[in-house]
Structure formats: structure tokens, C-alpha cells
């Protein structure tokens, strides 16, 4: 017994030196990268990495005269090479698991994003929960250089701001790596990415930017970027982006405007929205039916209208239905006309209902898409009118 135990314990103890603490890294040996930007270089890529300076981020420990993040930059033939090259300027190895955003420069995006993304899908350290955005009208490096107020880590600001605006404002799209890859591969859906814009130029790049009440350098999401396969081909503005979100059933909450019968505006909040896209083959021709059901609350009234009447509400519901249908159709027409790519995934719907027809249709689906038969049906319910019934404007005027 004692002998057996001795052998067992010796074996156990030998295991410890065998591993040699393989892959062990202390927290203060990590360069925690939160944002990565990829731009085109003369040869290969230019990779800029936003690394957190932990001591300057944590509450109560900041010295105040150092920036919360540092940007490291290197060029290489491959992304992988460039990231490793950064160790020549950074004291710590770049740690990618906590990446929040991946920013792709516009010029690179126009050439195609498939190749540079391979490293991120292949590397074991990278998780697929970060958002991918396109730097509109600038390089990715410029986006990552801006210091932001409130959120000390700009990459975190980009992440949270995208998430929140998707949640309560709608014309943005949170796209993660796996979603993007699926869209690129898919024949019946082309990818879109949110676009981010830098305002204020070089002023945003120093600590001074966040010392101001009204910082001059800002990062702002403006609509969506449309891709054909993996190449950027154009932009959607805010309204069109919202239409995209409606069709893709991504709207959870947003605010819209309705027009009063006698002029003036009414602000409404969309509290619930459910879109169903169904495909159909009609006499050998593909047809798409979009059905949207929405619930709205009235949030602001700037006209004379009697909200206490059932009829008024019904009229408002009708005009809201027309409005949302118009938004969606507007987006579809714009995409059909100027981009000629199916970013809505209509092809996938056709594939789903009639796989045999899809086999022939997919040959020239983008061509088919431009003159696709699309029906939109909207059903809006106005549930609440707020804490007052009629606006106080009315009384004043009486």
C-alpha cells in the first residue's frame, strides 16, 4: 500500500515540471488589445492595435497624465506577421481575446475583406464576439486614435455605442465575425456593416480632447456599408439603414415621426416590431412578401389633434403603416437600383421555400433581385398615448 502510494505521488509530482507551466501568462504580461484596425499598406497590411493601459482605466488609480490607451502600429505581408511585429515596439504580447471592435479602413474594404479576416477566424485566441465596422472616409488607424469621454477606452465606446444604438435607435447593425463570414459565403444574402466616421480631425487624438466639455474629435456611426461579396460598393444613409433594420427584423426600439392630418408632427416610439419575410414562387417568378407588425407609443405631439377619440388613433395607425412601408420600400428600391445586391437575404427565403427553383435562380440572383416582386404589409397598433391625453397647445389656442 505504502509503495503504491509512493509511486502514485511521485508520478503526480512529476506531472508538474512536465508542463513547465505551458502557456501560463500573468495578467501584467498581457497587452490587452480592445480594438484592431486594418488598413491597406503599400505591400500587405498596416495593422494598428489599441492596447489598454490598465492602470489608467481603473477607478481611483489613475494618474491622469497618461492616456488610457496606446496605439501600436506595424505593417506586414500578413495580418499575423504585422501583429507579431508589434512586440518590437510594445513591451507586452498582444492579447486578442478581449477584442471589442475590428475597424476596417474604407480603401481596404473596397478591395475586399475576405483575406484579412482569415487570421481572426483561425487564431485560437480570438473570440467571435467583437463587432466589425467600416471606417467611412478615413483609415482605420484614424478611428482608433480618437480619445472618447465617459468611456475611457475608445474601442469600448465603439462597441457600446453600436450596441445601444442598435437597441434603441435601429439604423445600425451589430455584425460579429461569424455573421459576417456567413453572409460573405451565402449566395442569397450580401453582407452589410455599420459605418463609423471620425469628426474633428487631429484634435481628437490627444488627451486635450477629453478635457473639453464639447470634445471636437468624435466617433459617429452613420448608416451602413453595403458589400458585394466581400467588396464595399456603397453606403446607405440613416433612413435607408432603418429600412434595412425593419426588413431584417433587427428593430427592437426606435423613434419615428408621423405627420398630423392638419399639418404638424407627432413623435412615436416603436416598442415592439416583428417582421416576417416569406418567399414564394409565383408562376415561375420569385415573389417576396414582407409582413410587419408593430406596436407604438405616442411620445410627442406638436399639432392639434384629439387623441381621446378612437378614430384619431385609427387614422394615426394607418398613416404609420404607410410610413413604415414607405421606409422599407425606399430602402429596397435604392438597393435594387444603385447597388444591385441582395443585402436583405431574400434569396435565402426563396431557397427555403423552393430549393429546386433556387438552383436555377441563384445563377444570376443579383440580376433577378433588381426586379423582384415585393409586397409589403404593415400592421401598426398604437398602445399608449403618454401621461397626458391631449396636448396643452390646444388649450392655449382655444
Amino acid at each position: 500500500m505504502a509503495r503504491k502510494l509512493f509511486v502514485f505521488i511521485s508520478c503526480l509530482l512529476l506531472l508538474f515540471p512536465l508542463t513547465g507551466c505551458w502557456n501560463r501568462r500573468e495578467l501584467n504580461e498581457l497587452g490587452i488589445s480592445v480594438g484592431i484596425g486594418i488598413d491597406k499598406a503599400e505591400k500587405g497590411y498596416r495593422v494598428s492595435v489599441q492596447v489598454v493601459n490598465p492602470g489608467e482605466v481603473t477607478a481611483g488609480k489613475t494618474s491622469g497624465n497618461r492616456t488610457p490607451i496606446t496605439l501600436y502600429e506595424a505593417t506586414g505581408d500578413t495580418i499575423f506577421e504585422a501583429i507579431r511585429k508589434i512586440t518590437t515596439i510594445s513591451p507586452r504580447v498582444i492579447y486578442l481575446a478581449h477584442l471589442r471592435v475590428l475597424v476596417i479602413g474604407e480603401s481596404l474594404a473596397r478591395e475586399g475583406i475576405e483575406k484579412p479576416l482569415d487570421h481572426f477566424s483561425r487564431d485560437h485566441e480570438v473570440r467571435t464576439d467583437f463587432f466589425i465596422v467600416i471606417a467611412k472616409g478615413s483609415t482605420a488607424k484614424d478611428v482608433l486614435k480618437v480619445l472618447t469621454p465617459i468611456e475611457k477606452i475608445p474601442a469600448n465606446k465603439l462597441y457600446l455605442s453600436l450596441e445601444t444604438s442598435q437597441k434603441v435607435w435601429a439604423p445600425t447593425a451589430t455584425v460579429t465575425l461569424d455573421e459576417l463570414m456567413t453572409d460573405i459565403i451565402s449566395e442569397g444574402k450580401s453582407p452589410v456593416l455599420s459605418a463609423v466616421k471620425v469628426t474633428g480631425g487631429v484634435e481628437g487624438q490627444s488627451q486635450k480632447n477629453v478635457e473639453k466639455i464639447d470634445p471636437s474629435g468624435r466617433l459617429k456611426y452613420t448608416g451602413l456599408a453595403v458589400f458585394r461579396e466581400d467588396k464595399l460598393i456603397g453606403w446607405l444613409n440613416e433612413k435607408e439603414s432603418k429600412g434595412y433594420s425593419y426588413i431584417r427584423d433587427k428593430v427592437r426600439n426606435t423613434v419615428g415621426t408621423l405627420v398630423c392630418p392638419e399639418g404638424g408632427k407627432i413623435g412615436v416610439e416603436v416598442t415592439r416590431s416583428k417582421t416576417q419575410v416569406t418567399g414564394k414562387m409565383n408562376n415561375g417568378k420569385p415573389q417576396i412578401n414582407i409582413e410587419i407588425r408593430m406596436e407604438e407609443n405616442i411620445g410627442e405631439v406638436e399639432c392639434q389633434i384629439d387623441l381621446t377619440k378612437r378614430k384619431t388613433i385609427e387614422d394615426l395607425e394607418k398613416s404609420a403603416e404607410q410610413k413604415v412601408a414607405a421606409i422599407m420600400l425606399g430602402t429596397i428600391h435604392k438597393v435594387q437600383k444603385s447597388f444591385k445586391v441582395d443585402i436583405f437575404g431574400f434569396g435565402e427565403e426563396i431557397h427555403r421555400v423552393d430549393p429546386t427553383a433556387w438552383k436555377t435562380l441563384k445563377q444570376n440572383w443579383d440580376e433577378q433581385f433588381t426586379h423582384l416582386d415585393i409586397n409589403v404589409k404593415a400592421d401598426v397598433q398604437i398602445r399608449r398615448i403618454g401621461t397626458v391625453s391631449n396636448s396643452f397647445h390646444k388649450k392655449e389656442e382655444e
Binding site: 508542463t19 507551466c21 501568462r25 500573468e26 495578467l27 480592445v34 489598454v52 490598465p54 492602470g55 471589442r100
Partner: protein, 522 residues
């Protein structure tokens, strides 16, 4: 080892000395031999008196000073023996030996139980247990009268297993007091008591208590067998017995529970367990013991069932924190940083800025410091204990963080772990868990979470292989017995606890038959 050898050689001599030699007829001879055998120890009082009208009968009264109640001896022996008139007369007249002894016994009988002594071995045994021995000249027989009465601690509050609600009495060092405390709770003729003397030198009284008809007879038989097997010079605490009769020697887990609370002992008896009481210690042993017993307290049954269940769940959570808390911290911060939320990672990284040691060394330092402080807190003379806690809070508190030796988060982890290990009710289990913690920490430092998982699997396998007096240690989890989960992690209301643990008592498992209390019908 050396000490043990010495002991055994001494006890060898001892055995030669104390033989079952019959008493001599002559009183002088007897006294001479007793004096010789006991080395004329000062505390052995031998009073030779002559009784009878003319002092013709020689009697010796022997007792051990301090162990025998002097007041009883003076009041009942001396006075009645010295009295010239009453009973002594017949003694003198009766020339027949047996009758003389009988009448002497009749006289002594006033003070309670007594027994006849015919040999030196039993004479010494009685004498050294506090009995008073009376030897009569001309007879190779004596009388031992129970006059035990020594200074002992009175019943006080339990120190190690205190409760808010429940009886506030604990066992004492006196065996008889302890058995009486259990008897006071269970007034049933089926509560049986068997006493043995264990320890060649100490001759410690060990009592085995069980309720006949509820207890599993095989377990009682096994307890008897294992107790009989013990051959040791001395038993000073129930821990000696525990180590000598436990099932598994090479295991960090205790397979025998102990308690200092009579109510717990009574409850265990009612569940069909055997209680072993040892003279000289307030801690009694309970067999068989299951793993789950260490997470149940007396108070669980005195409080409302829902609260007890909640507290038990908390105890299980703290079991895991105490066991793998620091290990998990080490594993996650050195191998699996991707598991942390980004904000948390950044703030942990910020705390680690400038800390010179790896997380494992950091954790080890803090844990060892804590263990030292804890040990010091227990061993220190009470008045100095205060100083330890002050130094302790400074050392493993803010100062260590400010000095840049450890990170603040490590202090939090170590503190939570320390507190959690105190929540485990069974003290002997808590010690084992603390020991295992260090092993798991080492595994976590070299293999990450993989190491922790392997350790936990090994631990579960080991636990499932353990038995306590033949009962699977992990029951009712493994083997899984549905009906017995009434009182494991959950504690159902008393009206629902209708049966005893089947694996333990095997027969007579119906505890009560009662329907849930209903509202009064108006």
C-alpha cells in the same frame, strides 16, 4: 517512535506487576503488598482501624485522595465503623467469616452500590477509579464502595458547536455526566449502554450507546469488534479511538463525526447510529458518518425548514469556494483570461501592475499567512489573541496591497475563502478541505482549469469509494436514494421526515406517521 517504545516497555513491567493475584487473608500482608505495588504513593490513603467493642476486628479503609468523596467517606464509613454500639456488636459475635463480611457490607450498603473484591487487579482498578475499598482482617475478600467524587468542570455552553436556538449545554469531561445527559433526553428502556475499558495503562472507560431496535445490530457488532481490537497504552481523547477504528486510513476525509452536544448525540441515536463516549473528553464519536453529516447542524432542525434548506445550500456553496476559490482565481488569471468580462480583466490587470510574483506564489503567500494567523489565534493565550487579530488585519489587509506585494483582488479571494471554510459545520471536514485547497491550487497553477477539473473528478471518485462502518460515505448521493433526500441538501418540515435513513438502520425505519398540520376548522 522512541516514546512509544518506552511506553511499551513500561507497560510490560506493569503487566507483570498487576496480575490477577488473589487477596491474602492477612490484612497486614494485603496492606504491605498494596503499598509495595503502588509505590507508597502519597495520595493513596490507607486507614487501619480497629472496630468492635474491644477493637478486636482489624479493618482497613483505602481510598485515593482527590478521587473519592471525603465527605461521603467520613459520614458513612468512618462514623458508622467507629460507632461502638450498633452494628459492630454482631460482627464481633459472628465468628463465621462470611457473615461478618455480609454484615459489614450491609452497613456500608447505605451509601449505594458496592461490589466484592477478591483479587488485587480489581482492587487497584476500583481504588484508582475513586472507589473506597474496605478490607477485613482474616478474609481474602474486600468490599469496594462507590464513593467517586472528584473536582470536575460543570456543564457549560458548547464552544465549538454553538447555536442561536437550541439547548445551550455541552458534554463535559466526565463520562457518567455525559451518559446521564443523553439519558435525560431519551427515556427509553431500549437505550442501551455498553462500557469497556480501553488502554492498558490509562484504563479509560469507553461507553457505546445505541437504541436497541432502531440501530443496525451489525454496526454495533462491528463497533464492538473494532473497539476490542484496540491495543494501546492510553486513550486521552476520543480522537485516539477515531483514528484507531476508522475505515479508511489513507484519506483526508473524516469518516467518523464528533459532537459536543447532547442533543446532536440524541438525534443521531434516534436515526439509528451508535454513539461512542470516552471518559475525559466532551467530544463523543458518532458512527457511521456520511459526508453530508458535516454540513448539517443541530440548528437545522430547530429552525423553520425553508431557512434551514437555504442555509444548507449556502454551506455547500461555501464548500466549493473554500476548496477551489483561490485555485479558480489562479487558473483564470494565468491561463483563461478570455473567460473574464473585459472590464473585469482590465481592472484585475490594473491591480496586478507592479506585483512582482506570479499569481500562484501570491496566493500561496496569502494562504500560508492566513493559516499561520489562524493557528496563532487558536494557540495564543487568550489575552494576547487580540494582538494577533490586529496584526493579522494589517498583514493580509491593506498594508500588503499598498506595499505592492499582493494585489487587492487576491486579498479579497483569500478572505472569502477563509470565511467560507468557517461556514462548514464539521470542523474536521473544514480542516480536510483546507488541506485539499493547497493541492488544487498547485494543480491550477500548472494545468489551469483542466487541473481543477481533474482534481475534482479524482476527489469525487475517492469520496465515492469511502465507507464508514460499511455504509457508503456519499450516500444518499452515491448510491442515489431518492427517498433520503428529504434531509440532505433540503430539510423538509418535520412532519415530512417520516423515515430514518434506510442505509443506516435498515429496519424499523418508520419514524412517525403524521399528516401536515392543518388549519383549525372553525
Amino acid at each position: 517512535m522512541k516514546i512509544k517504545k518506552n511506553f511499551s516497555s513500561q507497560s510490560g513491567q506493569h503487566q507483570i506487576m498487576v496480575q490477577t493475584e488473589p487477596l491474602y487473608e492477612s490484612l497486614d500482608e494485603n496492606i504491605r503488598k498494596i503499598k509495595e505495588d503502588l509505590g507508597s504513593s502519597d495520595d493513596i490513603i490507607i486507614r487501619e482501624i480497629r472496630i468492635g467493642r474491644e477493637g478486636s476486628v482489624k479493618v482497613a479503609v483505602l481510598y485515593t485522595d482527590g478521587l473519592a468523596d471525603k465527605q461521603v467517606i467520613t459520614e458513612f464509613f468512618m462514623e458508622s465503623l467507629m460507632k461502638k454500639d450498633t452494628l459492630i456488636e454482631p460482627i464481633e459475635q459472628l465468628s463465621d467469616g462470611d457473615k461478618r463480611l455480609e454484615s459489614l457490607k450491609g452497613m456500608v450498603l447505605q451509601i449505594g452500590d458496592n461490589k466484592d473484591i477478591t483479587d488485587f487487579a480489581s482492587l487497584y482498578n476500583s481504588l484508582l477509579s475513586g472507589d473506597t475499598v474496605i478490607l477485613l482482617d482474616g478474609y481474602s475478600q474486600g468490599i469496594a464502595a462507590s464513593t467517586q467524587g472528584w473536582q470536575s468542570r460543570s456543564i457549560s455552553e458548547p464552544v465549538a458547536q454553538s447555536v442561536v436556538r437550541g439547548p445551550q449545554e455541552a458534554f463535559t469531561e466526565t463520562l457518567r455526566t455525559n451518559t446521564s445527559m443523553i439519558r435525560r433526553k431519551i427515556k427509553d428502556p431500549n437505550l442501551w449502554l455498553e462500557t469497556k475499558q480501553i488502554g492498558r495503562v490509562t484504563k479509560t472507560n469507553v461507553a457505546v450507546m445505541y437504541i436497541k431496535g432502531i440501530v443496525n445490530d451489525k454496526i454495533v457488532e462491528e463497533v464492538r469488534k473494532r473497539l476490542d481490537r484496540i491495543d494501546i497504552d492510553g486513550i486521552l481523547e476520543s480522537g485516539y479511538i477515531e483514528e484507531l477504528i476508522q475505515d479508511e486510513v489513507y484519506s483526508p476525509f473524516p469518516t467518523i463525526n464528533n459532537t459536543e452536544r447532547p442533543d446532536v448525540a440524541a438525534a443521531e441515536l434516534l436515526e439509528g447510529r451508535v454513539v461512542i463516549l470516552v471518559d475525559g473528553t466532551p467530544f463523543v464519536l458518532i458512527v457511521p458518518t456520511l459526508f453530508i453529516s458535516f454540513f448539517q447542524t443541530a440548528e437545522d432542525y430547530y429552525q423553520r425548514a425553508d431557512i434551514s434548506t437555504l442555509l444548507r445550500i449556502i454551506r455547500f456553496i461555501s464548500l466549493f469556494i473554500a476548496m477551489i476559490g483561490p485555485a479558480l482565481y489562479i487558473a483564470i488569471t494565468t491561463f483563461h483570461q478570455e473567460l473574464l468580462p473585459t472590464q473585469l480583466l482590465i481592472s484585475l490587470a490594473a491591480q496586478r501592475e507592479g506585483v512582482p510574483f506570479p499569481a500562484f506564489i501570491e496566493a500561496l503567500m496569502m494562504e500560508v499567512t492566513f493559516e499561520i494567523l489562524r493557528e496563532a489565534g487558536i494557540r495564543m493565550p487568550r489575552p494576547i489573541g487580540q494582538a494577533v487579530s490586529i496584526v493579522g488585519t494589517l498583514v493580509i489587509g491593506q498594508a500588503a496591497v499598498e506595499a505592492g506585494i499582493v494585489s487587492a483582488s487576491m486579498v479579497i479571494v483569500v478572505s472569502i475563502t477563509a470565511i467560507s471554510s468557517f461556514v462548514i459545520t464539521g470542523y474536521s471536514m473544514a480542516i480536510s478541505i483546507r488541506m485539499i485547497r493547497f493541492v488544487i491550487m498547485g494543480l491550477a497553477a500548472s494545468f489551469g482549469i483542466f487541473g481543477i477539473v481533474v482534481a475534482l473528478i479524482a476527489l469525487v471518485l475517492h469520496l465515492c469509494s469511502l465507507r464508514s462502518f460499511g455504509i457508503p460515505y456519499m450516500s444518499p448521493f452515491a448510491p442515489f436514494v431518492v427517498g433520503e433526500h428529504k434531509d440532505t441538501i433540503f430539510r423538509l418540515p418535520h412532519w415530512a421526515l417520516s423515515s430514518r435513513p434506510r442505509l443506516i438502520n435498515q429496519k424499523n425505519s418508520i419514524r412517525k406517521q403524521m399528516s401536515p398540520p392543518s388549519k383549525p376548522k372553525s
